[in-house]
């Protein structure tokens, strides 16, 4: 064995839950990700376990995502969503009889049936349980994230705000996965000087940064990004490898752009007759993605050929071989220069695999299968690597993120800079009020402060600032930010004037329910 490959999948969605509407478009982000990414990945893990294929990686399940996976209302809606999809697939089999699309309709029906069987069978309706299973076997390391994916460098004006993001993350993770997290995916890989101390305080042993987070550290990192570095407080930082990222991320040269892979945009939700598809799109008639897509990427133009799953499947094998070869070459080149086994860190958004890139989970399965046969490179988890090489260089990691341009621009620009004045004021108020009411016996005060903590956490999600910058779901993102700030200020008024609107409070407790055991004293 010459070196190691370290896959990191970052699974995250913002907390979106709207009991006040029977159908809510943005809730479907979650349902789609479950069917297209989380379930297929867990199924492949099970398959690898059964086939005896060696696989190792780190996967984050962020606290908001874990919360949603455990939310009875959302999971109930998800189960209904899955039944509806299956119903649509059966209808499609009828409709496409005798056409080149018929076997595709069958493909979806079979897939949905398999997902269902796996979900009700092996998983016993618990996605978290699935991750726990592989975590306990030692195949994967499940890591945490900021409690609501807050962009920590921009929250750092109030020390407690950053600490609360970490403290609650560890608490929520421990509750859900049965053990404290050893690693963390920093929200957006965003690091600032001093963050490592807080991580160390909560028993976190490693985190990830972008390539230049390690390369620009001080003093110079002696192994580049091919070995972890330690911060002064002894927490390890792993740097992203540029080339392996590019092979998957690049929209031009990346594997997901192959002409034979399934096209993301051609979806029967948009394509078919309105009357026919109506029960499966938004009830107000707005067309949405259903997940049933019959075409392959084909080329740049609008002309799309129909999808041929057998060819796409073979492509994932070719790409997996190509990917593993690339890693073999990389570790050979670098091993000649250093006195230890190098590691190549490849972090990706988990939702890329399956949701955006339909064949992604199968590709990863084939990568592990191929790598299992390699005697040059082997998959490894961060903890395994640290156990093998417990001694590493101590540096000051460079403040950075994995966003566009590598720093904080995406989350702080003219479109979203107004958010921070509110977030900082709220965090300061929270600290003051939490200290003042620390020993309160008044149930109304306690409930209000706990809910204020939740509203502040939800307002802090980096997703809102991100969506404003990328222009996706901009209105929803603005609305959510404002809603949580507004709720916070109104609850604050209630406490300060000792006059309570219990109906309002109760509604928020049910709707913005993230973490049932919330305790405002996390802000003390």
């Amino acid at each position: 064995m010459t070196g190691y490959w370290m896959l990191v999948l970052h699974s995250h969605l913002p907390f979106v839950k709207h009991p006040e509407y029977p159908y809510f478009l943005e809730e479907h982000w979650f349902y789609e990700a479950v069917s297209e990414t989380y379930l297929p990945m867990l199924m492949y893990m099970k398959q690898m376990e059964d086939e005896g294929i060696h696989f190792r990686f780190a996967v984050s399940v962020t606290p908001p995502l874990a919360e949603m996976m455990c939310d009875p209302m959302l999971m109930d809606r998800y189960e209904k969503h899955m039944d509806k999809l299956l119903e649509l697939a059966y209808k499609e089999i009828e409709r496409t009889k005798g056409t080149c699309f018929e076997h595709l309709a069958h493909m979806y029906k079979d897939k949905f049936l398999k997902l269902k069987e796996f979900y009700y069978g092996f998983l016993n309706r618990s996605l978290i349980g699935g991750y726990r299973h592989f975590l306990e076997k030692g195949y994967i390391d499940v890591i945490t994230c900021g409690f609501t994916h807050g962009f920590l460098p921009l929250l750092n004006n109030t020390y407690n705000a950053v600490r609360a993001q970490i403290e609650l993350a560890v608490k929520s993770h421990t509750e859900k996965f049965g053990r404290a997290p050893k690693g963390i995916w920093l929200p957006e890989c965003a690091y600032f000087e001093g963050l490592d101390k807080i991580l160390a305080e909560y028993g976190i042993r490693y985190f990830f940064v972008d390539t230049h987070g390690v390369l620009y550290s001080k003093p110079r990192p002696r192994f580049g990004v091919y070995a972890p570095v330690y911060t002064e407080s002894g927490v390890a930082a792993f740097g992203r490898d540029y080339y392996s990222s590019k092979q998957v991320w690049s929209s031009k040269e990346g594997y997901p752009g192959d002409a034979y892979y399934r096209d993301f945009y051609r979806d029967i939700g948009y394509d078919l007759d309105h009357e026919y598809i109506k029960p499966y799109i938004s009830p107000d008639g707005v067309r949405v993605f259903t997940g049933l897509k019959y075409h392959r990427i084909t080329g740049e133009s609008d002309y799309k050929e129909y999808y041929q799953p057998e060819i796409a499947s073979r492509k994932t094998e070719d790409h997996a071989r190509h990917f593993v070869k690339g890693r073999e070459q990389q570790v050979k080149d670098i091993a000649a220069l250093i006195d230890r086994k190098p590691m190549v860190v490849s972090p990706y958004d988990a939702e890329l695999f399956g949701h955006w890139w339909y064949e992604g989970p199968e590709f990863l399965y084939n990568v592990f299968k191929e790598m299992d046969r390699s005697d040059v490179v082997k998959a490894i988890t961060p903890l395994e690597y640290l156990n093998e090489y417990p001694t590493n260089q101590v540096v000051k990691v460079n403040p950075s993120s994995w966003g566009d341009k590598g720093y904080y621009d995406v989350w702080l620009n003219k479109g979203n800079d107004w958010i921070y004045r509110h977030l900082h004021f709220m965090a300061e108020s929270m600290v003051n009020m939490a200290k003042y009411h620390q020993n309160t016996k008044d149930d109304s005060v306690r409930r209000c402060l706990n809910q204020m903590t939740r509203e502040l956490f939800l307002a802090q999600s980096s997703d809102w600032a991100f969506l404003v910058t990328t222009g996706t779901a901009i209105e929803y993102a603005m609305q959510r930010t404002k809603e949580h700030i507004y709720n916070f200020l109104r609850l604050k008024d209630m406490v300060e004037y000792c006059s309570y609107d219990y109906e309002f409070l109760g509604r928020l407790e049910y709707k913005n329910s993230i973490f049932h055991d919330m305790d405002f004293r996390v802000y003390c």
Binding site: T96, F101, L154, L215, S217, D302, Y408, R421, T470, Y497
Partner: protein, 251 residues
């Protein structure tokens, strides 16, 4: 003002602006009633018709703004506190926002026996005994500002202050000190690095992608999402044509 036709959220928003006591516990009708009462006490019967504003009216709350606001979550644009915050955007850019409270301005004017103070926003760098001022701009009582100070690795902070009539500067609030990010490989090499990898370090960096990284922008989820979104938008725009296409193919 027709408070009767407004929603509770709208009424609450106005009550918040006017700082009506007990507002959070009020029902919709109570809010409307309280606002009516407020209008009577503050503006008087005639004030609505004439344009005179009585001296009791806070300057920030012109009565004309009570027009129906669209159902929204109205937020204050400031909190009436003394604060200044500096946030790094990248090694070449910093964002600063600040605010000086009414009370601080009032006390300052009272002490210095003056009317209209100027507000000065400053940015500093350095360590304890070696501090230098990088920028100083005249600003308003509250707001925000982007600086283009190229300060990789430096420690920066901002300060908001006021000038008295003689031009003396008084600081009001100072921000936290922020370590700015670096934008290149450090010159600092520890001894052991030389003993371990020596001249190979350049090769290691090349293999790490150091030159390619600088040639093109880093790939990122943010860019990917926005590219996907652009494509998605095209699809929606041409959904009529793809409808026709699919009928041919799909049926």
């Amino acid at each position: 003002m027709n408070y009767g036709k407004m929603t509770k959220t709208e009424l609450y928003a106005i009550a918040q602006k006017l700082n009506i006591k007990n507002r959070s516990a009020m029902s919709k009708d109570e809010l409307a009633l309280a606002l009516k009462k407020y209008d009577k006490t503050v503006s008087g019967k005639k004030a609505e018709k004439t344009e005179t504003v009585t001296s009791h009216m806070p300057a920030e709350v012109p009565v004309q703004e009570h027009k129906p606001i669209k159902p929204d979550y109205p937020l204050p644009d400031r909190y009436n506190v003394d604060t200044v915050v500096l946030l790094p955007v990248n090694p070449k850019k910093e964002y600063v926002y600040w605010e000086v409270s009414d009370r601080t301005v009032y006390n300052f004017c009272h002490t210095h026996n003056m009317g209209d103070p100027s507000f000065i926003l400053k940015v500093f760098t350095g360590e304890e005994d070696n501090v230098s001022e990088l920028a100083s701009v005249k600003v308003g009582k509250y707001g925000n500002w982007y600086f283009d100070l190229y300060c990789p690795d430096a420690r920066l902070w901002a300060e908001i202050g006021m000038l008295d009539s003689k031009g003396n500067y008084y600081a009001v609030a100072v921000s936290k000190r922020i370590k700015m990010p670096a934008d290149r490989i450090s010159d600092l090499i520890d001894k052991e690095t030389w003993m371990t990898v020596g001249e190979n370090i350049e090769k290691i960096y090349t293999l790490s992608g150091i030159s390619d990284m600088q040639k093109e922008e880093l790939l990122s989820s943010a860019r990917m999402h926005s590219e996907l979104f652009k494509k998605l938008h095209n699809v929606e725009a041409s959904s009529v044509s793809s409808n026709i296409l699919s009928k041919k193919g799909g049926e």
